[in-house]
Symmetry: D2
Subunit: 307 residues, 4 copies
């Protein structure tokens, strides 16, 4: 592994090299706040397990992390060690779009994994069974690991998700019909929509995720998960973190990662670092076009990969 | 990583600890030669990138490697660098049984990945377009990497596959109907059935696969694939190598691996070693029950994992 | 056609012959009011286009007509001649269970036909776009055609449907997500659940349905549909009226019919008569076991069939 | 029913009225002989149960009857009263394209009905179990009911089907893998392709099919099926005869019918007549555009319909 001193330059080179590609892909258009993001935005930040931080581009601008939050809510649910979590949600890639109800029908309301929408709804339901205020608790967790006390839910995004989230609402009721949702679907959806509406920058996201590269603990020694649990989360990110393009993503990038339709991606090199990229243009699978390219370059230029 | 001197003992401990589980799972029963394998068989072999070999249990007894051969035939196809390979076969986990035709119909004859049967048939077709004798060439490749000139196809297995392989035959014709099979389906099936009928021991299989842990080259310096290609194959093993249980396998074991219904599994720790296990009892997904447990123990006892 | 004088005896013979089969099949068990119906109940009523009525068994006992009401709500929607009705709901047999969401996903929220739950929800939504009180209007229609001013919704059934109808709720939101539901899903569901909760006897149901045998008009000359529309409804009953067993039902009975999970079936011989049967034990497809047998006997003993 | 004297004029009026539509739809293009049919062809013939024949347009020109032959092969299989026929093939509309393998996988090799390709292959297999020469026997049957000793298989069509019929071949092997094909798939396919390659005119087809309108017997008194069996075939035509558009066809036309991709349709009004139409342009479901329009006009102008 090259000296850390080179990292800032490495990220800058990648950001510069990909400058001509800015604007590639399509913005998520299902809610207004995502539609009006600057399509040319592009940022990148890397946080080592020692806590050193490197960044380039629009790395301090906040964006809607959307499904990247599913890693954080899964962490929260696993912290409380619920014995029935893995009976209520599977651990397999879905082979379908992230918002498909087909698989739920065929597999009697058990979502394939915690990183598709249905799975994250079950994870949220599990959290709500344990905690009186699932929104505040996750916010506290995120502020803690990111070291940024002013991280907030984007209320406008949460409200827009609530108003248009009919497919998620259908999923929640469908799982309720199979007995795989304990709480009131509207309460689960409210918490879920807020989690998706977390607004964070690349710098904050890289910091927030570095515990996954460090056996479950932050560089400051705050432990979120056990080493064994951390491996499990990383394995799920690898096999289920990039919507219906996990194979392609592993083939090209070779790092456990979770993407969101806001254009953010959090990737992990276990034992080394976390890296967050953001560019709002998405490919057909819903992953950031430039984000994926940036991670691919990071891997190919350095040989860093789990493979 | 612990000293190599401990490896023999490590494997022996795993084999001993799992002795009470021998016989767990169900033998593949679709052809007679697989039905009459001793269900108590259990072997394990590990080959480091330096070429050092460690083993325990029935590690020198040959068995039918079945779908583990798909890694070798993919290697052969990638060696010849066919530009259209990845247009004709995908790189995503299937989310379906290994012999499903449903996905082929929905995706117009393009198999999801090279490690399900349909994908391996396309890979075989690609090989046949380049090589006059696909069977002999693969046999030569295997003998070379395994360092065992007497490795053979089990003709009885190949014949039994031929006689009962109606589902594979249906797949081949179905892909032909979509224009995704160039050759005569019967010729493709003949080569494919022979590849699946390779008879190898854990020792031979670990040796044969160590190039995947070593950037594409054997410890003796014979290079099968480039480092970039090697990463790609490993990523495909991780996301697609364990039938419809890849997520579960990654969650528990955390190593790229390819399993076969003969009960063999080849797993890779990049940069370190390859490991082959064999026990013929299968779980519902078609993966060796004891083989998976042994790899899980190897990972949990040592912390070795890509995550 | 035999003399009408024989009809009472014909129905009585069928009811007597099938007496040993009373209790066959399984009661619908998803709501309490359906679970406590007497499983031995069995009634039959036939109404000719001249308005003559014949009956046998428990023909005057009211039961929950459930999905048989879908014929009446479709009639109501067609009366108002909405131009977009057939763009929002298809006219094909579903090949799936009556409460499947799979087909909705594959066909972008357009239900296959108006007699599966999703289709009836769209029909109800269409009615609600036109009428301020969809429940009262349908009740008036039913009372009119049945000639029974005291027909009511069973409020207990409606409430139980409301409390347990999560799958229907999921469907409604899912169609809303595709833009194929205009109204508030809860309002649509409320009207739908009430329609399903209509409580009628065989005598009332036979009378209520005879307009379908008479070119759209009751024997008293009240016209519900045009002759062309009447044929259309009958054709839909034949191809879509018996859940996922329409082929089998046509093969055995040979009459357009609509069944409900309360155990009722309304069948039509165009130009001749309507016939209603009721017995609460259901087969796997959700059709009344004795009801189907009774109609099969009616057809085989008399040769009455559209084929 | 109007006097027979009007029939010639009625057919002629329909043919004239639809003249501007000649050429609508797309010709089947999967084999060369079907591609070179004159797209403007349009013929119509009606045969009453008394044996009177009426026709208009290109009613004496022969065409490839394709799937209309499935009615004849089913008749042949039912004549021999095989007890296991309905255990090996279902009686439900498929809800899928005529050549889908998906349903076969989900329902373990049992085709939904005898009028989709897979079902007709099973019917052909059943015939081959009973008869040494399935091709000659069906040809004899057809010549007999059509009263035309010179009806032949179009050998060029049969050969082209054989050469391009990979999807049917995949289906045959797939059903073989489920144990639902007894014979050699190639022999079954050979007989099946020949049955589809029957070359007949509208006049011959109307004559050949009139036994279905007459309780199973030709006007000359040759009985092919019992009255009960005849009803069964008619019900299957209604629920399964028009590919994936049976509901639409019943809604618009209201007659049991079987169509073929050669552009022919045979329809039945039980107790009255058979009618054959032919025009090679197909709609998306594979039914003749003008043929369907002609039958719709026949029904709407006269009120003739089973509904």
């Amino acid at each position: 592994m090259r000296a850390h001193a080179d990292f800032d330059q490495l990220l800058q080179t990648i950001v510069d090299d990909l400058a001509p590609e800015r604007g590639a892909g399509e913005l998520a258009d299902y809610i207004e706040p995502l539609r009006r993001v600057d399509p040319l935005s592009f940022g990148m930040a890397l946080c080592t397990v020692e806590g050193e931080l490197y960044c380039a581009g629009d790395a301090t601008q906040r964006f809607s992390i959307q499904s990247v939050s599913k890693v954080l809510s899964l962490t929260l649910a696993m912290q409380h060690g619920r014995h029935d979590l893995w009976r209520r949600v599977g651990r397999e890639p879905s082979g379908n779009r992230f918002n498909s109800l087909v698989q739920l029908e065929h597999e009697r309301g058990i979502p394939r994994n915690p990183f598709i929408n249905a799975g994250a709804l079950v994870v949220t339901d599990v959290i709500l069974e344990m905690l009186s205020d699932a929104k505040a608790t996750l916010l506290d967790l995120v502020r803690g690991v990111a070291g940024a006390a002013d991280i907030e839910f984007d209320r406008e995004v949460a409200r827009a998700e609530h108003e248009t989230g009919h497919t998620n609402r259908a999923m929640a009721w469908f799982m309720k019909s199979f007995g795989n949702l304990q709480g009131d679907p509207e309460a689960v959806l409210d918490a879920y929509f807020h989690h998706c509406a977390l607004s964070m920058s690349c710098v904050e996201l890289a910091r927030a995720g570095v515990y996954l590269a460090n056996g479950g603990c932050t560089p400051e020694g705050m432990c979120m998960l056990s080493p064994a649990q951390t491996k499990q989360v990383n394995s799920l990110m690898l096999t289920c973190g990039a919507y219906d393009a996990v194979g392609e993503f592993a083939f090209r990038v070779g790092l456990p990662a979770k993407s969101g339709v806001g254009g953010g991606i959090l990737a992990i090199l276990p034992g080394r670092f976390s890296v967050a990229v953001w560019s709002p243009g998405l490919d057909r699978a819903g992953n950031s076009v430039l984000g994926t390219m940036a991670l691919e370059q990071l891997s190919s230029r350095t040989g860093w990969s789990i493979f």
